[in-house]
Amino acid sequence: MFKEEYALMQTASPAPNTPATATAPMADVKMSARQVRVHYGDNEALHGIDVDIRRNEVLALIGPSGCGKSTFLRCLNRMNDSIEGCRVSGSVTLDGVDVYDPALDVVQIRARVGMVFQKPNPFPKSIYDNVCYGPRIHGLTRNRTELDEVVETSLRRAGLWEEVKDRLAAPGTGLSGGQQQRLCIARAIAVSPEVILMDEPCSALDPIATAHIEELIDELRRNYTIVIVTHNMQQAARVSRRTAFFHLGNLVETGDTETIFTNPGDQRTQDYITGRFG
């Protein structure tokens, strides 16, 4: 059923991106998913997702609640592994290497594909220790000076340095919600990941903090590939270059954000974007 719709979408959609017959040059594709299905017990939550994520671009995943966009995001760095009764099939590749290859260490994948969560979740440690946690466990730095540098760069990139440079030893849980989320972004950046997955990073934040994070995503695009799940369509329009619309466990269509928002190829996308459901 999905395939028919997908074919329909491809003929109807003017979007330049057609995953199965990649028109974009291979070098441009950072991660790609093919026929990704996820089962929770007997329940199929994702019905075969095909999508390419291009290097240094922001891909937004939108769709109504429960459509599987967060589940899909978590497939990209195998965060679903720890969920009881969850099975993933199909293939996800990172630079052409299968992420689900049993010979591969999941820890390495997660170091390359970082993640920022819906609710800010700083560790109950100091700001400094929060940021240097990743570099420490992966042994990325050789001495204290290098570690200090990593912490400073990461905090600067996350736009938090000026606010916290005088209190790096203060607990990370004492920051405001928006600052905590930027701390979590800094923590993710500190490992130098290639891809950053963001699961509704602004849903727990106020508008000003949200604006901060959105600016930050715009900055980060230069160095990282970013996949962001969001409920906020204005946000998707503001920060992403391409958008994928999920509905009931299907990927309905993928395309340039502008096209999706102005001239969607599928009726369901049109309905969702104009607010008829969701």
Partner: protein, 460 residues
């Protein structure tokens, strides 16, 4: 009429009040005198409470004070010649004699004035019981009628009933607090009697404990020594051994259960661990004497050490076993309370399971774990049965775990069992030890609860 019969009648009246009140309220609505402020059942409870509670409280008061009043009347009715010269204790003795006579369990033939008083006591008792019961039931009926008359659609019975319930709950919690207070006071008074005979400083810092006091003047060791330090040390030493067993094992099993075990394993292991917590400590005592102590002895002999039959090690080991489920169950709760988002955060950075546990989960749970350990420690210090059975009686100030030591609880038990006279320092010393024990465990509990509370403030 007897106390219980009166109580039964009052309960019946109260129940009747409920039904009458409820139907009266329902009638009020049916007659169309407006909407009720409260549901009919609240009106019912309102009448029932008015009918039941005041009479019940008075009945309780009579149950406590009634006998005294009657007995005072009987004593006052005795001929002056018999009572004028009596001291207080003689008066109490006389009263007991009259009471026994009235109950028909007196010795021999009583003096005529005692027999007369006993007869009078019996008469007064049954008479007063009738009067009081009748008065109470009449009062309850009056209150019932009064409450019924007050029922009106806009009477806020709902609020009234809730106020009464709130009061009842406050009384229940006050009962717990008052009991604690009573226990502490009784400890303090007896301990003060001890300290009147033995200096508190010598008690707290003395190095020798030998509570045997002489019965005759010429006996050897006629004055006991009550330096509590060796006893306190014994308690701490055994507790330390117990914690050395319970904390690592309990903590590891908690981490395993909370972080690694599959739900299937968890659903088996956790109940089994909790069975360990349900074993009576006296059974642990058997285990210590019959199994562990001989094992420790043999192990010591193989190593060429001399081991006492009641070694501190054996008692400590078994107490440690007893505390494992305590530590693991509390720590398991604390570890489970660490938000999943922290684990996800660490996993998202590429941390392995054990790195996540060691560097994120355990530090986050640490205050709670410390609280759990302190609670376990205060249980170890107060634990009695295992040490009574497995630890020694001799107060040794030693750090050799193969020697016998004694504990505060053991000394309390041994000084208070058997025929004891309440005016000897030996018996009274038990209360001083009890007070000491109470203070130590109280401090530990306060500290533990404080830490646990501070921990909760972080995540809620």
């Amino acid at each position: 009429m007897s106390f219980s019969l009166t109580l039964g009648v009052l309960l019946l009246l109260s129940a009747a009040g409920y039904w009458v009140g409820r139907s009266r309220a329902a009638n009020l609505v049916a007659r169309g005198s407006g909407r009720l402020h409260s549901l009919p059942s609240y009106h019912g409870f309102y009448v029932a409470l008015w009918a039941g509670i005041p009479a019940f409280v008075l009945l309780l008061a009579w149950g406590v004070a009634g006998d005294r009043i009657v007995e005072a009347l009987v004593l006052a009715g005795l001929p002056d010649a018999q009572t004028a010269t009596l001291t207080n204790s003689e008066r109490a003795l006389l009263l007991a004699q009259i009471r026994n006579e009235a109950a028909g369990i007196g010795f021999g033939t009583p003096e005529p004035f005692v027999a007369a008083a006993a007869e009078r006591l019996v008469e007064l008792r049954s008479f007063s019981a009738w009067i009081v019961s009748a008065a109470l039931i009449a009062g309850a009926l009056a209150a019932l009628a009064w409450a019924l008359r007050r029922l009106a659609p806009d009477l806020r019975t709902r609020n009234g009933v809730e106020r009464t319930l709130r009061l009842a709950m406050a009384l229940c919690s006050a009962l717990a607090i008052l009991t604690t207070l009573g226990i502490v006071l009784s400890l303090i008074f007896e301990a003060l009697r001890f300290f009147a005979r033995y200096s508190p400083l010598d008690f707290l810092f003395g190095l020798q404990w030998s509570p045997q006091t002489a019965i005759r003047e010429d006996q050897v060791g006629s004055s006991g020594a009550f330096g509590a330090l060796p006893v306190v040390w014994g308690t701490l030493f055994i507790s330390l051994i117990a914690m050395l067993v319970a904390v690592p094992v309990g903590l590891m099993s908690a981490v395993y259960l909370a972080e690694y075990a599959t739900p299937r394993v968890r659903s088996w292991v956790k109940p089994v661990l909790e069975i360990l917590a349900g074993i009576p400590t006296v059974v642990y005592g058997f285990f210590a004497i019959l199994t562990i102590a001989p094992l420790v002895r043999e192990a010591g002999v193989t190593l060429g050490l001399s081991v006492a039959a009641n070694s501190a090690l054996a008692a400590g080991l078994v107490m440690g076993l007893m505390l494992i489920p305590f530590v693991s169950s509390l720590s398991d709760d604390v570890i489970n309370a660490v938000p999943q988002s922290l684990r996800d955060g660490a996993a998202g950075l590429g941390a392995t399971r054990s790195e996540t546990v060691r560097q994120v989960v355990l530090p986050a749970a640490l205050p709670g774990i410390v609280g759990a350990v302190l609670l376990a420690l205060s249980r170890a210090i107060g634990e009695t049965m295992i040490v009574v059975m497995a630890a020694g009686l001799a107060a040794n100030l030693t750090v050799n775990p193969f020697e016998a030591v004694t504990t505060v609880t053991v000394q309390i038990v041994s000084n208070l069992t058997g025929d004891t006279e309440f005016d000897s320092a030996k018996t009274l010393s038990a209360f001083a030890l009890g007070l000491l024990l109470f203070c130590v465990t109280l401090c530990l509990n306060v500290i533990a609860l404080g830490i646990v509370k501070r921990y909760r403030e972080i995540y809620d």
